[in-house]
Amino acid sequence: MATNSDGARNTKYVTMISGDGFEFVVLREACLLSPTIKGMLRGSFSEAKTGRCVFPEITGPVLEKVVEYLYYYHKNVNVPYVPDMEIPVELCLVLLEAADYFQLDKQMT
């Protein structure tokens, strides 16, 4: 993954890093679904330059689920009948917070 200045701008993938050090390499297109990440990857933020987004307050398992959701959404854009993604009950509340943080609360069209 490119780490120098403008090289990361157009890479296909973005690295998302959880507070406890788990790294997820995610399709940029899928990431942009979240307005929060979209904002991070824009302009002259260090995340935009390096293509690495660190989320200190989010743990690995939660971030994993968020990434899973991003791909699930990406895969199902404009599909009329989409089966619901399984949400583990124990992660439900933290995932709610994460959804709020990533602004994944609206249906994108």
Partner: protein
């Protein structure tokens, strides 16, 4: 059609007794439900007399077996109790010796045991404190004492006697297991059952989506992560302890979801009461008691906005409590509080009206009336939003009183008593200049004078609704929208403003209702900014008028929802033109437009209510 005739028709249908559809069906096939019941009772009696079914003890005295059986099934369900099983075994052999008093004693014993059981506790919690403990225990006892069809058998593991049912499981080394041992044998038994259910749910999926489309709540693609989480949470709400860390808007979404599934009760209410909150929105308070409402005021001292739907138990003593607290509400929305008396409303408005900015009263039929409305002018100097919906007591006098509240910007009325149009006219003359919302639902008698008054007095209107008018004419609508100083409206609803002549439904010589010219004037004035338009059942708008309003050179960039159901002249061509002229349209309703037959729907748009077998169309072709 007048209300009276509707009521008469309903009465003419005759009153049916409480008879089930099944009974009717059986009767039509010459089968008597009563006979079936009698047969079943006879069979049950036979089973009672011969619980073993083996035929060995058929001659045995039957008097005691009823209680025997009861003891056996009761213990099988609750706890393994060697003493009582042994006793029942012995009792069976000496059945003849058991006297009547002993039988009663045994029954009493079983009832005592039931009272200690979990099932009893649960049922007691459900039914509240009103029921007598003994009644509940006896009900459970009777449930259990009805003998199940099938044989008695000794469990292969615990050796306890139990009744064999179709669900009894086989023991690993042969023989059968009682329900308790069967459950213990395979603790993961619940999981596969759940999975099977989910597979079935796929069948109802299409219907669910169609229902969502009708609700105007459909989006293709996956649900948002938040929705998924909230749905999971709602399914497991009993596991949640508090929602402290979540943002208020998230909590509000959870509250809506829970209420939709009718899960809001005294226990789950606590999740939504946070001492630091300013807003409490309860969308379904049907299961809450008076104490719960008082708890809201206790736990949330900084309350500013309170909204309670289905607030049946919002009574006088709760209002008394609210009055005694230092809570000054800015917004108070109450739905269905029929038990709140008029005098308490008066007291509330007098004491707490000062801070009130928004008051919405829905479905409180009798006690919120003219007297309360007449207080608004003096008691609520800051009121800018007033909604009175489905009210049987407010009359013209109350509407006249509203005209004195100069601060009002939003008025929405849905009254059941007839109010003369002149009263609305004087209301508009008095406070029309400041109004942003003016909504009159179900006003069959309002005429053109109201439209003229709107034209002459309102300059800042954004939302206008007048429905069910049977007198207004096309000319009136043209006058309203021609050279009106008001900016373009964002929301217009003229549902069912049309001619209602039963004898000659087609001809409309006087141009009653919203017709061609009125519709053209409407689009010319407000089309640029219009977001939602409802001309449901304005059936005298001609095809030419539609074609002109949605011609090639017209664009309505903001229009999101258009409702043209039961406008008879709408054709395929018009629907296509609408999609062309409204680039951001999301939903178009065409119920009962029989000339719409085969339309291409652009991607991402919804056409609802096609009168063909296709039903709703969500298309992604183009």
């Amino acid at each position: 059609m007048s209300r009276q005739s509707r009521a008469q028709r309903r009465g003419a249908g005759g009153i049916m007794g409480p008879q089930s559809a099944l009974t009717d069906f059986l009767a039509s096939h010459n089968i008597s439900a009563n006979q079936i019941r009698l047969d079943a009772e006879a069979r049950r009696r036979a089973a009672q007399n011969n619980p073993d079914g083996s035929g060995e003890q058929q001659d045995e005295e039957a008097t005691a077996t009823v209680t025997e059986n009861a003891t056996a099934t009761a213990t099988a369900d609750t706890q393994y109790d060697p003493a009582s099983t042994e006793q029942s075994g012995r009792g069976q052999r000496n059945a003849g010796a058991v006297s009547k008093t002993e039988k009663q004693k045994k029954e009493q014993k079983v009832i005592e045991k039931i009272k200690a059981s979990k099932k009893f506790q649960k049922r007691k919690r459900q039914s509240g404190d009103s029921d007598d403990e003994d009644d509940i225990a006896r009900a459970i006892f009777q449930e259990r004492s009805a003998p199940l069809p099938g044989q008695m058998e000794n469990c292969a593991l615990c050796k306890k006697r139990f009744t064999v049912t179709p669900y009894s499981r086989n023991a690993p080394d042969g023989g059968l297991l009682c329900s308790r041992c069967g459950r213990d044998l395979d603790p993961d038994d619940g999981a596969p059952k759940k999975k099977a259910k989910r597979v079935n749910a796929g069948a109802g999926k299409r219907r669910q989506i169609q229902s969502k489309i009708l609700d105007g709540d459909y989006h293709p693609g996956a649900k948002s992560l938040m929705t998924l989480c909230i749905e999971t949470l709602a399914k497991n709400i009993h596991l949640a302890e508090d929602l402290n860390n979540l943002a208020p808007q998230v909590i509000d979404k959870i509250a809506r979801k829970l209420s939709k599934q009718r899960l809001l009760n005294s226990t789950t209410l606590s999740l939504f009461l946070q001492p630091s909150a300013h807003d409490v929105f309860i969308y379904d308070a049907a299961k809450l008691t008076g104490d719960d409402f008082i708890r809201i005021f206790q736990v949330v001292p900084g309350l500013r906005k309170l909204k309670v739907c289905n607030a049946i138990h919002f009574k006088d003593d709760i209002m008394d409590y609210l009055l005694s607290r230092h809570i000054n509400l800015e917004a108070f929305h109450l739905h269905g509080a029929n038990l709140l008396s008029e005098s308490k409303w008066r007291e509330f408005l007098e004491k707490k009206g000062q801070s009130l900015q928004s008051l919405k009263v829905y479905w409180t039929d009798k006690h919120f009336g003219d007297e309360a409305l007449s207080l608004l002018a003096t008691a609520c100097p800051n009121l800018n939003r007033l909604k009175v919906s489905h009210n049987q007591k407010v009359s013209g006098e109350g509407v006249m009183a509203i005209a004195k509240v100069k601060s009002l910007q939003h008025i929405s009325l849905d009254l059941r008593l007839d109010v003369h149009p002149d009263i609305y006219v004087s209301l508009l003359i008095d406070i029309g200049a400041g109004l942003e919302t003016f909504s009159l639902t179900r006003v069959p008698d309002t005429d053109n004078t109201v439209l003229d008054a709107i034209h002459n007095n309102c300059q800042s209107l954004q939302k206008l609704r007048i429905t069910d008018s049977e007198i207004m004419t096309d000319e009136g609508f043209v006058r309203l929208f021609t050279n009106w100083e008001n900016k373009p409206l964002l929301f217009i609803d003229f549902q069912k403003c049309r001619n209602l002549d039963q004898a000659e439904p087609r001809s409309n010589p006087d141009n009653i209702g919203l017709c061609s010219n009125g519709f053209k004037a409407l689009m010319a004035h407000s089309g640029k900014k219009l977001v939602k338009l409802n001309v449901h059942a304005c059936r005298h708008i001609s095809a030419a008028a539609f074609e002109e309003a949605f011609s090639e050179d017209k664009v309505y960039p903001d229009l999101v929802k258009l409702e043209i159901s039961f406008c008879e002249e709408v054709t395929d061509f018009i629907v296509g033109s609408i999609f062309r002229s409204c680039p951001n349209l999301r939903e178009l309703n065409v119920f009962g437009c029989m000339k719409v037959k085969d339309v291409k729907v652009p991607q991402g748009k919804l056409l609802v209510g096609m009168p063909t077998a296709i039903g709703m169309v969500v298309d992604g072709d183009d």
